[in-house]
């Protein structure tokens, strides 16, 4: 699982985190160590074993399709960086 700097930039883009060229070398080196740790699990034979996604074997609980929450717009948008008319403001995407 050798990482290239191309890999680091690709993953950084997927994760939407800016990694500068100056940072990339150190990030790559530290990640290499972590991936070496992870490699240890690859050699174990797990044929036929059902993946365990959750600590408890429970089914997703369902509820009736009725409105139970009240309008908390003001409360939840009170912490936003930029809002207007109940909408979150972000840089223009479509020209």
């Amino acid at each position: 699982m050798a990482l290239s700097s191309g890999d680091v930039q690709r993953i950084a883009h997927l994760a939407r985190i800016e990694i500068t060229p100056e940072e990339a070398a150190e990030v790559e080196a530290k990640l290499a160590g972590i991936f070496a740790l992870i490699e240890k699990m690859r050699g174990v034979d797990t044929t036929g074993i059902v993946p365990m996604a959750h600590a408890q074997d429970v089914a997703l609980p369902l509820r009736d399709d009725v409105v139970t929450e009240d309008d908390r717009h003001e409360l939840y948008q009170g912490v936003a960086p930029a809002v207007q008319s109940g909408l979150y403001l972000v840089p223009k995407v479509v020209e």
Partner: protein, 478 residues
């Protein structure tokens, strides 16, 4: 003593100690004292619970309505929570008094409480040493007797390991017992809120208030109410642990464990035998894989959970950016520290196209193998004991250069999160540097009462849990 008197005294103590320990972040004396006054009124009216008027501190990963909740991160530096977590609500309903939010590794990712944007937490036993992490602020606060109870969260060991390194009791309940509503998510299939206190008995008291079904958390278990104190109250006699089979996995002793730690843990086991227990030699195959498995699954879940921090709805937003994508990238580069970024990148990688089967799915299969190993073990024993951590506390900066060195601190704790079963860490001695050593007692799912009882009987026969850092003892003497 009234709640106001007790609370004021502790707030003064926190003011004096916090510059040295950095255990606390947000505090609000007026608000806290108002809660204390309300608690005193409730005590006078006879409508109190056992917890009414008792001060508590909450780990800063738990939302507390109207209080800053930072998760130890620049990303949430000025974020004021609009609502409270379930466990916070429960303890508030019981009448506990919130004295402040405790410092932690950023977004609960760490084993030393050194990655906080607001500076590291220092051990009350020796300021050059770490208190453990990620709930280091809560552990240090209880160890320094700044508060009798605190909450933490345990995703890979983040309650148990700081409890061990700080010489206090820390309990990780069965996953799903305490709702994760309002717990800022790191790894959703692992995150577990739980209590810190000076004794197992107090942990049981806190758990009674913190546990319960919550329809707002889809992974919250709906089970009949339990009284986690019930076994502790029973008469013990000379052999209160008679009939208890204590499993000792050979993988938990020997190579990789510091000599002082192994000696203290073996002495603790001898004490359990004195109290009537028998020991069972065990092997837990694949336990050494628990760390790599965890460091695939937890970062994967984290990469998904932390995608919400994008500068749009809350938290930090970059001041300068070219467009929306640039805003996301710069916001997240500025808002997250190095360890958080590393884990998001690892998680993104193992979930990405072409790698998902080889890493994420593989790790989930190993998770089942490891869980099956524990299930098999619990057919031969009632509890499994061992060291909580391979060493006592280390110095600040000792392990920050190599992430993997830091991750290996979790070697005995991560399996408990992989399988979701409960475990407690309690003090059982000190190392040659006079730093605390923790004994971990694990049980099968829903065995909280059993492990709490074992811990309690041990604490009735020993006094490690009553030892205090030098400064605290000196202040008491004054």
């Amino acid at each position: 003593m009234s709640s106001v008197e007790l609370t004021s005294a502790l707030l003064d103590r926190i003011d004096a100690a916090n510059p040295r320990l950095n255990a606390f972040l947000a505090r609000d004396r007026e608000r806290t004292l108002a809660q204390a006054r309300a608690a005193d009124a409730r005590l006078a009216s006879g409508a109190a619970t056992a917890l009414t008027g008792i001060p508590v501190a909450h780990k800063d990963v738990l939302m507390t309505a109207g209080w800053r909740t930072t998760c130890g991160s620049r990303m949430l530096e000025d974020f004021v929570a609009p609502y409270s977590a379930f466990v916070v609500e429960r303890l508030e309903e019981a009448g506990m008094v919130l004295v402040g939010k405790t410092n932690m590794d950023e977004f609960a990712m760490g084993s030393s409480s050194e990655t906080s944007y607001f500076g590291p937490v220092r051990s009350p036993w020796n300021p050059d040493y770490v208190p453990g992490g990620s709930s280091g602020g809560s552990a240090a606060a209880v160890a320094a007797r700044l508060v009798p109870a605190a909450t933490g969260t345990d995703t890979g060991g983040s309650i148990r390991q700081p409890a061990a390194l700080s010489g206090v009791c820390g309990l990780k309940p069965t996953y799903g017992l305490c709702s994760r509503y309002g717990l800022v998510a790191f790894a959703s299939s692992f995150d577990t809120p739980g209590p810190f206190a000076q004794t197992a008995q107090d942990c049981a008291l806190l758990l009674n208030a913190m546990a319960g079904h919550d329809p707002r958390d889809s992974t919250s278990l709906d089970r009949p109410r339990e009284d986690y104190l019930r076994l502790l109250g029973a008469a013990g006699g000379a052999k209160p642990l008679a009939g208890l089979r204590v499993g000792m996995p050979k993988e938990y002793f020997g190579a990789g464990v510091e000599a002082d730690v192994e000696a203290a843990v073996r002495a603790a086991v001898r004490e359990l035998v004195e109290l009537g227990a028998t020991t069972v030699e065990l092997t837990l195959p694949n336990v050494e894989l628990a760390v790599p498995v965890y460091y695939v699954l937890a970062p994967a879940e984290a990469s998904s959970n932390l995608a919400r921090f994008d500068g749009v709805r809350y938290g930090h937003r970059a001041a300068k950016y070219a467009d929306l994508t640039d805003m996301y990238k710069k916001t997240r580069a500025e808002g997250f520290g190095a360890e958080v970024k590393r884990r998001i990148l690892v998680g993104t990688y193992v979930l990405s196209h072409g790698y998902y089967d080889a890493y994420y799915l593989k790790a989930q299969q190993l998770r089942r193998l490891i869980a099956d190993g524990f299930r098999a073990a619990y057919r031969r024993c009632d509890v499994i004991v061992g060291p909580t951590a391979p060493s006592a506390a280390f110095k600040l900066g000792a392990k920050t250069d190599d992430p993997v060195q830091m991750y290996l601190n979790d070697i005995f704790t991560v399996a408990g999160n992989l399988i979701g079963a409960p475990a407690i860490s309690i003090p059982c001695g000190f190392d040659r540097n006079r730093l605390p050593i923790g004994l971990q007692i694990q049980g099968d799912n829903f065995a909280e009462s059993v492990i709490l009882n074992v811990a309690h009987r041990y604490q009735q026969a020993t006094d490690w849990h009553r030892r205090e850092p030098a400064e605290v003892a000196a202040e008491r003497a004054r």
